[in-house]
Symmetry: C2
Subunit: 321 residues, 2 copies
C-alpha cells in the first residue's frame, strides 16, 4: 500500500570517504524485483530494511566526486535509489553517452531489463530458427525485447500479457505472432492454440497458472530460463489444480527439460556483447521499446504498486526532478 512508504526531506548528503561520489538522480527505474527486496526472506540480495531508502537504478549527474575518474556534470548510470541525491561508490557507477539515445533507454531496453531479456533468451534459451518461444509480461521492458530477439532468431514468438490492449500491443508493436491474455479462464487452451508446434523456450517471469499452462506444451529439450515470478512475489498462491513438483520432475526427465534460474548480473561478461548487438538496432528503430514515464518521486509508490498489478504499459520510469 502507498501508506507503507514514507517520503522524508533531508539535507543533501556530503562526501566523506575518499571514493564517494555525489549524484543528482534524474530518472529512477521501477522494476518488479523491488517487491521481493521488501520481503524479509533469504534471497540473492539482502532485503531493504524498514526505514532504509528503497534501492533502484538511476540515471543522474555527478555533482561532485572524490574519485578522480568522475567529474561534475558527468551523466552516469548508478544505483541511486528512490531519492533526489545519492552518495555512491565508483564500482557501481558507469558513464553513459547521452548522444546515443534517450537517457531513459539506459534504464530500459539498453539497461538491466534489456540485458535480462538478452541473457536469459540467448544464453539459456538458445533459440533455434523455427522454434517457438513463449514469454509472459510480454509488453514489459523484458518481455518486449524477448519477443523481438526471438523474431530476429527466426522463431515463432508467442506473447502472454494481461488484457486485450496489451495483447494487441504485443502483436502490433513488438511483432509477436500471437498473444494470449493470461486472465483468460481458458488460458491453457488458448495457449495451446497459439503454439501448434509446442513450446521450445519458455522465458519464465510469471509463475503460477501461466507456468501450469506452459508445462504440458513443452517439447522435448525445451529450455526454461527462470527470470522472475511476478505472480508469486506477494506470496505463493495455493491451488488444488496446480502442477506438482513431482509432475515437473517427470516431464524434466521424459522431455529432457532444462530449467535454469538466473540473475542478470551472473551474465555481466556478456554485457558488452549485448550492448554491441542491441544498441545499434535501438538507434535505427529496428528494436522498439515503450516507456511509461511518471513525473515526481512522490508518485513512485503508487506507480510501483500499479506496476505489480499490471496497470502500466512499458518500462516504468520516475522523472525524479
Amino acid at each position: 500500500m502507498v501508506e507503507d512508504f514514507r517520503h522524508v526531506t533531508l539535507d543533501i548528503p556530503q562526501l566523506r570517504a575518499p571514493d564517494d561520489i555525489l549524484i543528482r538522480n534524474r530518472l529512477l527505474s521501477l522494476d518488479p524485483y523491488m517487491r521481493w527486496r521488501m520481503n524479509d526472506s533469504k534471497s540473492y540480495a539482502k532485503p531493504v530494511g524498514i526505514g532504509e531508502v528503497m534501492v533502484g537504478a538511476t540515471v543522474g549527474e555527478v555533482v561532485c566526486s572524490n574519485d578522480p575518474l568522475f567529474a561534475p556534470g558527468d551523466v552516469v548510470l548508478a544505483g541511486g535509489g528512490w531519492q533526489d541525491y545519492a552518495i555512491v561508490k565508483p564500482d557501481g557507477v558507469r558513464k553513459i553517452d547521452p548522444q546515443l539515445t534517450s537517457l531513459s533507454a539506459y534504464l530500459g531496453v539498453l539497461g538491466s531489463p534489456g540485458f535480462t531479456a538478452y541473457a536469459g533468451l540467448m544464453k539459456i534459451g538458445a533459440p533455434q530458427p523455427g522454434e517457438t518461444v513463449v514469454v509472459g509480461a510480454a509488453t514489459g521492458p523484458v518481455g518486449s525485447l524477448v519477443i523481438q530477439l526471438a523474431k530476429m532468431a527466426g522463431c515463432r514468438a508467442v506473447a502472454i500479457a494481461g488484457g486485450v490492449e496489451k495483447c494487441r500491443l504485443a502483436v502490433e508493436r513488438f511483432g509477436a505472432d500471437a498473444a494470449v491474455d493470461h486472465r483468460d479462464p481458458d488460458l491453457a487452451n488458448k495457449l495451446a492454440a497459439a503454439c501448434p508446434n509446442g513450446i521450445d523456450v519458455y522465458f519464465e517471469n510469471i509463475g503460477g497458472r501461466v507456468l501450469d499452462a506452459v508445462i504440458p506444451l513443452l517439447n522435448s529439450f525445451a529450455r526454461i530460463p527462470v527470470c522472475g515470478l511476478i505472480s508469486q512475489y506477494n506470496g505463493l498462491e495455493q491451488r488444488d489444480d496446480a502442477i506438482s513438483l513431482a509432475q515437473l520432475m517427470q516431464d524434466a526427465l521424459v522431455k529432457r527439460l532444462l530449467v535454469r534460474g538466473f540473475i542478470v548480473t551472473d551474465y555481466n561478461a556478456y554485457r558488452d556483447e549485448f550492448f554491441a548487438s542491441v544498441a545499434p538496432k535501438v538507434t535505427s528503430g529496428a528494436i522498439v521499446s515503450l516507456e511509461d514515464i511518471v513525473d515526481g518521486l512522490a508518485n513512485a509508490p503508487s506507480a510501483f504498486i500499479g506496476l505489480l498489478n499490471g496497470k502500466n504499459i512499458g518500462k516504468l520510469i520516475i522523472r525524479v526532478d
Copy 2:
C-alpha cells in the same frame, strides 16, 4: 506382480532381412527404467505392449548373421531383451572385448548404468573440487559410480541408500564420506547433518521425499541432473507436505539452480571419452562395482520386482543360459 509376466517357449527365430543377426543371450541387464516402459504413457521411448517381449540390454554371442561385419562366435552387447535368442539389427550391436574385464561389467559399470553416471555427473553436474555431491540409490550401478567419480573430482560425496547395510556399503565399499538412510523418518535433518556445506550437485534418481529433503539444502548455482525418479515409477505419491512447484521455481530463481533431465543416449558423443576414462580404472581396481547375478531367465520377473523395491544390492543381471 510376478503373475503379470508370461514365460513362453518358441522356436529359435530365423534370419529373414538382409541385415538380421541372430544372437544367443548370455547375460541380461535389469534396470529400473524398464518399469516405466511398462506404463502406457508418453515417454522418450514407446511402451512395451502387452504380449511383447520385454526390452533389455544383453551380452551375447552371434549365432549367425546376414551382416558381413558380424561372425558366429562374436561376443556382442545388444538389446536382446528378456529371451534366450534374439534377432537384432547391426546398428544396435557392438562387439566387446571379453579379455578386458568380466562380461557382466559391460552391462554395469562400463555399460549404460556407468555411462549414465558419467554423463549426468560430469556433463551436467560438472562437480568442482570442494563441492558436495549427493546421490540416491547410492549402492546401485549408477549411484555407486557417481560416488566414486565425485570423490575423484575432489568432492564430498554423500550417499542416500535404503537401509543400514546399503549405507555401510556406500561408505566402506564405494568411499562415500557419509550415507543417509532414505527410510529414516528424520531424513531431512540427517541429510542436513551429512551436508554441512550444503549441496552443490544432486544427482536425482529417486524423486519424492528425498528430493524434498534435498531442495532446502541446495547452494546457489547448484545443479540437478535428473536421471531417474524410481520412487515415482509406480505412480505419483500425494503428500500434503510435498514441496510445491512454486517453491522450486522460487528457489531456482533465488539460487540460480539448474535442473536438467537427461537420457544417457543424448550423450552418446561422450561414450568413447567415458570408456577411455573409466575402463582402465575398472581394470586396475581403482573403481569398484558390485554385481548381483541371478541364474535363469525364469527368475527375471521376481528379481526385477525386488530391484524396484530396493531388495537387491549391486547391478542386477540375469544369467540367461
